[in-house]
Symmetry: C2
Subunit: 280 residues, 2 copies
């Protein structure tokens, strides 16, 4: 274990402190509403940790829990009500939704100015067009980790493994905006090792345990692990343990990117409230 | 000159033939309106060639010419009128606009369903989110050239040089959607040669004459030239002449991507009309 450990907790705490100071200075605490459908244990746990941090930093927050058999119309009606409620600053629909609910029409329905997950196509388009919008939390968290630990992006070669709408594509956009040279690799990439070995910064966001092996990583590289898998009851990432002997810096899993994602939800809520309420 | 010449005219003619056949089968010809501000010679020439092709394939088309000193409000009023006109299927505002006009608010104003240039943020967001929207013409044209000449994208390594909203970023999205491994390189890229040499397909869209040299290109690569510069009164591309001795396939400049971009304007107009009017 020679690599530096990029601690999610350290970055998350720094963000939480900054956000809570700003919230204390506002005329009213921003209001974040979680929408959870059903009782999927991972969803319950994610919403709980986001909600706890939100309360800790002084946001107002509540969680609407809808039954697992809620129909599409009822869910969409709930979103419309939250859109209309002028005292709601952020709306976060926890994904994935239980079948047969359809996510795409729900994400498009959320008021883009309350879309603290940044998944609405208009926010995606703003991100790629260089315009000011709300940006997904996990990608923002990855950049916060790199910035906190002083890993430069400008001119760096970044290889993103995984091209999801939640992580891979938006983090590529953010790295590009910060003047990195960005490669997007994925399941159809031939010779994934060559793409990863070329990188100063590797961002692994696939969800396949140990996909990124030590032989793929350039000595001295920074490796960000986003993938989550469960192996023999343990949470493991996309990055194999041996990578710690080769890389200069690695995020642990758990204890890395996930914690910072949660912090970015509260930062995005603050940001959404400031934009929408016209606060400086 | 050993490389195969990827002729823009051949691809453009094939598209024009297909589009004109489809138009002939429609109840009414789709209606494309160009908005040109001022008399910049390049803009005059681009609009003229798009308009001629539109007429040749049977579109209805007209060009609104506004004086170079048109103010922002008048231009935006013009766009709103075209949005409201139910008989207008496509609106194309020729860029760049003369100073001090501001492009961003104009592009956001165009009805996304009539946005045949595909620059509206909602269309950009749909492109990156895997949703069905209108896609910029030059990137579509690049894919049409690769498809016409049978250059496979799935699993190919594509390096895009240049990260503009008009070409670099959207063509990266299209190549990714077709399962290529995509690298976005640009002015801040260190060792551009290494990024380009790794590519099976190079897309050069910077506008710096001869930026991509023979020493940067892998033997057997396909090289797509999008950059346009004027050197000693001649139009030249980003790709140096010596690249023809190394690459397997190259688009000429002029005579390559530009012609196919024009064809994609008419194809996008047909597509916009079919979507908006509910034609099959």
């Amino acid at each position: 274990m020679v690599a530096e450990r990029l601690e999610g907790r350290v970055v998350s705490d720094a963000i939480a402190t900054r956000v809570s100071e700003r919230i204390a200075s506002l005329p009213i605490a921003p209001n974040l509403v979680f929408v959870r459908v059903g009782e999927d244990p991972a969803s319950v746990s994610y919403v709980r940790s986001k909600s706890r941090l939100a309360q800790r930093v002084g946001l107002r927050t509540r969680t609407l829990v809808l039954a697992a058999d809620t129909d599409q119309g009822t869910l969409e009606h709930t979103i419309r009500e939250l859109n209309r409620d002028d005292d709601v600053d952020g709306i976060l629909v926890q994904l994935p939704l239980p079948a047969p609910l359809d996510e795409a029409p729900v994400l498009v329905l959320i008021d883009p100015d309350k879309d603290v997950d940044g998944f609405h196509p208009i926010n995606v388009g703003k991100l790629w067009s260089g315009l000011d919008g709300l940006v997904p939390c996990t990608p923002l968290g990855i950049l916060a980790i790199l910035d906190h630990y002083g890993v430069p992006l400008e001119g760096a070669r970044v290889t993103v493994v995984g091209r999801s709408n939640l992580v891979g594509k938006p983090v590529a956009a953010l790295c590009l905006r910060r003047h990195a040279t960005v490669t997007l690799a994925h399941s159809r990439t031939r010779d994934l090792g060559a793409s990863v070995r070329a990188a100063d910064i590797v961002i692994a966001a696939v969800g396949r345990a140990g996909l990124v092996g030590a032989d793929m990583v350039r000595p001295g590289a920074t490796v960000i692990d986003v993938g989550v898998s469960r192996v023999d009851g343990r949470i493991v990432g996309d990055v194999a343990p041996e990578v710690w002997d080769v890389a200069a810096r690695v995020t642990p899993m758990p204890g890395g990117t996930g914690l910072v994602t949660v912090a970015m939800v509260i930062q995005n809520t603050l940001r959404a409230a400031r934009r929408r309420r016209g606060w400086a």
